[in-house]
């Protein structure tokens, strides 16, 4: 019982940390250029990773980013200035506001709902009477295949 609680607590902590993430304090320029902005030339690459030959945007934007990071202390306002100039698609990921928030919530919501549903189904199965299953006995025709599967998957 003790181990179960320990494991559960450990998993919860690990999962919580992982989901929350841990924002580092790398240089803002690197963070914004590597994680927050995308090159709008159509190459769909992260701004600081754009190597599109003859790109009309990336060099200019990288200079703008360096300049704006120096002048503006807020990452949000730097990003906003890029959005105003290049449109929403310049942001590398959806924001955490409005409908964009759904993008972040949905995968985890589906995961947790799926997990809880699976757990509930297992509990339900456990609670079911064995008699219910006896009404659908396993076909003896399948025994050779089960035997082979057992041999192939077990010691």
């Amino acid at each position: 019982m003790h181990l179960r609680q320990l494991l559960l607590a450990g998993f919860t902590v690990v999962l919580a940390i992982a989901l929350l993430g841990a924002d580092g304090d790398r240089a803002r320029f690197q963070d914004l250029g590597h994680h927050r902005l995308i090159c709008p030339c159509g190459c769909t690459q992260i701004l600081l990773e754009c190597n599109h030959v003859g790109c009309q945007y990336s060099d200019k934007m990288i200079n703008q980013l360096a300049d704006r990071v120096q002048k503006d202390s807020s990452d949000d306002s730097v990003l906003q200035s890029f959005v105003q100039e290049y449109g929403n698609t310049v942001l590398a990921a959806p924001t955490h506001q409005g409908f964009d928030r759904v993008a972040w919530i949905m995968p985890f919501a589906v995961f947790f709902v799926g997990s809880f549903t699976a757990a509930a189904v297992i509990r339900n199965w456990k609670a079911r009477s064995p008699a219910m299953l006896d009404s659908h006995p396993a076909s003896p025709d399948l025994d050779p295949y089960r035997e082979q599967a057992r041999k192939e998957t077990e010691l």
Binding site: T44, A103, G114, A118, R123, L142, Y145, E152
Partner: protein, 683 residues
């Protein structure tokens, strides 16, 4: 010749229609007790003949590339006279029409093998062949009416072609698409068997048993295709990475995730008669995701650097997808009683539960990838403007899910079927847990700072969990080996060999897990990447990590296919000369496009990765971008381990008769508490 190609495709369409119609009619007549063996046989033979016709068409297209027949529009747009020979062959799959023809060729090849091996189960193969003929009919319709590869150039025929996209002129591009397509297309076979088995209410274990090797081979092809693509991106695209979460990359990952889930969950059906509905829908979903991926990349719905130009064939795929879903749903609703589970899950702490949760995690990951890929479309529809869903989203959502999956990969083998006690779990978990904690402490002592950087945190978690999985797998091999050693007198290594040969599927699977873990270790190295960009004139130096680069020269070359600029750099590590590297940029004359040729010095510890990023027009000096990417080589090593594990799992297990020394001692219960059922040597 182009006319012959067109005729071959039209003939293949007629043959597929006959296979579908005659096959369906024969099965229908047989179902009501009318003898139709000869009609069914004609359908099978027509199915075989499809391959001849499609192979003929593919040959014509390749021949046109080799003979520089620029009267064929496709060859004009994807080849030129000076294109090296291997790439002329690759022209077959470098454009929309050619790649669809290649898809049809692979599908007909799978169909050929399936129809030639019909004696494995005549009736089930007849169903599968008919369903496969329906899929072939769709692709041949496309090739004949929507994306014809043999369209002729109108008016004056140009003297030379436009050439192959420079990004595709790389050796791996000759094998990456075939591998990927073998994976995509291959899932059509287990899909056809699953649907056929559902229609005829066939015992679940039988179709799974017949298709198990198909599925594993297909999965292995898809895996190789994905990683060859990653290696191509790393070596050619020159942005220092191997996976960019581009919609086309995502499209290949979706069926891989559901296919992986399927490979695991079928074991529950085989062993315990459970999850029948789940498995049928998993393979349906895998096939439909292959089609969806093709739709995404060819419809222009999502923007991608890899995607083919926007065209009307996207609608064809939507219709095909819709019809496939309706057919699957119809037969599921009609025959769902046949899929009822024969056993129940008895405990949350059991092998069955771990498979179930592992399946859930894989599907959650699949959903997250699909959701992120389609969210820009959804956003435009609801908000009226597109948003970008790029790597930061996918990494943040999928990395935690992947961590959970790794944890389950470690825990799963420690759980017994039906039920496991906490005491036995604790006993078997102790050593792997110590290995994981020791790894974490070692990494912290080496300077990993998870509290400062999310990337470090994920790398720490990934490597610790990788240690957990490795320790678990090794302990499984050692535990089983010891049992055999004890009863046969063999040494431990020989016993492990015997154990693996007797249980190829299980232990091959563990080797695949090891491969995945090695790949994860390689991926985790990305947290410690370093990069630097600098203009480098003669004798200029750049320092990055332990490396010093000294520019010795920068020069130009010219040949009929391309002209190139490259730098010659002396590379020193900790003051010791390693050699010279030559990052290059090529300008392809026919296509008038430029491409980078990366210089990479790869070791097990790290890659020194150099890109010729361009030239400063004012100073005429090259701009060199340098990356130090730790542990990347392990990603490619992991793939080889994974392929080896798949091959081991595909080998038929050695029977008890082939291991006479083990028969002497059966039955002997092994006192391994983790297994709730006694395990007998010699089984």
């Amino acid at each position: 010749m182009p006319q012959f190609g067109s005729f071959a495709l039209l003939f293949a369409l007629v043959l597929s229609a006959y296979t579908l119609f005659a096959g369906s009619l024969a099965l229908r007549r047989q179902a009501v007790g009318i003898e139709s063996d000869r009609l069914g046989e004609t359908a099978r033979r027509a199915g075989i003949a499809i391959w001849v016709a499609v192979a003929g068409a593919a040959f014509v297209l390749v021949w046109a590339a080799f003979t520089n027949d620029f009267s064929v529009a496709y060859i004009l747009h994807h080849s030129n006279r000076d294109l090296p020979t291997p790439y002329k062959f690759a022209a077959l799959w470098s454009g929309q029409e050619g790649s669809l023809l290649f898809w049809a060729l692979l599908l007909s090849t799978y169909g050929l093998v399936l129809r030639l091996r019909h004696k494995v189960d005549v009736k089930l193969v007849a169903y599968a062949s008919t369903i496969l003929a329906a899929v072939q009919f769709f692709f041949l319709l496309l090739l004949n009416f929507a994306a014809t590869p043999f369209s002729l150039v109108q008016g004056q025929i140009p003297a030379d072609g436009n050439g192959l996209n420079p990004l595709l002129q790389y050796p791996e591009m000759v094998i990456h698409p075939p591998m990927l397509y073998l994976g995509y297309v291959g899932f059509a076979v287990p899909f056809a068997f699953a649907l056929g088995a559902l229609i005829m209410k066939y015992p679940g274990e039988k179709w799974i048993h017949i298709t198990r090797r198909w599925t594993m081979v297909t999965w292995c092809f898809l895996t190789c295709g994905i990683f060859l693509g990653a290696h191509w991106a790393y070596s050619v695209l020159g942005w220092g990475g191997y996976w960019g979460w581009d919609p086309v990359e995502n499209a290949s990952l979706l069926p891989w995730l559901t296919g992986t889930a399927f490979l695991h969950s079928v074991m529950m059906q085989e062993k315990r008669g459970m999850l029948k509905t789940w498995n049928v829908w998993l393979i349906f979903a895998t096939f439909m995701l292959s089609i969806l991926g093709t739709f995404l990349t060819r419809s222009g719905v999502v923007s991608s650097v890899h995607a083919f130009a926007q065209s009307s064939i996207g609608e064809w795929f939507i219709w095909f997808l819709g019809i496939t879903f309706v057919v699957c749903l119809f037969f599921y609703v009609r025959n769902r009683e046949h899929l009822r589970s024969e056993h129940r899950l008895e405990s949350l702490i059991s092998r069955e539960s771990s498979f179930l949760f592992q399946n859930l995690v894989l599907l959650a990951s699949c959903f997250a990838v699909l959701w992120g890929t389609l969210f820009p479309v959804l956003s435009e529809w609801i908000q009226g403007h597109k948003v970008t869903v790029g790597p930061p989203f996918f990494n943040r959502v999928n990395v935690p899910i992947a961590m959970f999956l790794l944890l389950l990969t470690a825990v799963g083998p420690l759980l017994a079927w039906r039920s496991t006690s906490w005491a036995s779990l604790r006993r078997n978990f102790t050593i792997p847990a110590i290995a994981a904690i020791a790894t974490a402490l070692l990494l912290l002592s080496l300077g990993v700072r998870p509290w400062e950087d999310a990337a470090h945190l994920y790398a720490l978690m990934a490597m610790s969990l990788a240690a957990l999985v490795i320790a678990t797998v090794i302990s499984e091999f050692v535990r089983g080996g010891r049992v055999i050693s004890r009863h046969t007198g063999q040494n431990l290594l020989s016993s492990i060999g015997t154990l693996t040969r007797r249980n190829t599927r299980r232990y091959g699977g563990y080797i695949v897990h090891m491969g995945i873990v090695v790949i994860v270790i390689g991926l985790a190295g990305a947290a410690f990447n370093q990069e630097k960009e600098q203009e480098m004139g003669f004798r200029d130096q750049m320092k990055i990590g332990a490396y010093t680069l000294v520019c010795q020269n920068y020069t130009q070359e010219d040949n009929p296919n391309y002209s190139s600029e490259y730098a010659i750099l002396d590379v020193y590590k900790n003051g010791k000369m390693l050699g010279q590297m030559f990052p290059e940029r090529r300008f392809f004359k026919a296509s008038q496009q430029a491409s980078t040729i990366v210089a990479n010095h790869s070791t097990l510890r790290e890659d020194l990765y150099l890109i010729y990023a361009g030239k400063n027009l004012d100073t005429d000096k090259p701009i060199i971008k340098a990356f130090v990417n730790p542990l990347v080589a392990w990603i490619w090593i992991g793939i080889f381990v994974l392929i080896f594990g798949t091959i081991v799992a595909l080998i038929p297990p050695m029977t008890a008769a082939a291991v006479p020394q083990l028969q002497r001692v059966r039955p002997v219960s092994i006192p391994v508490p983790v297994h709730s059922e006694p395990i007998e040597a010699g089984d």
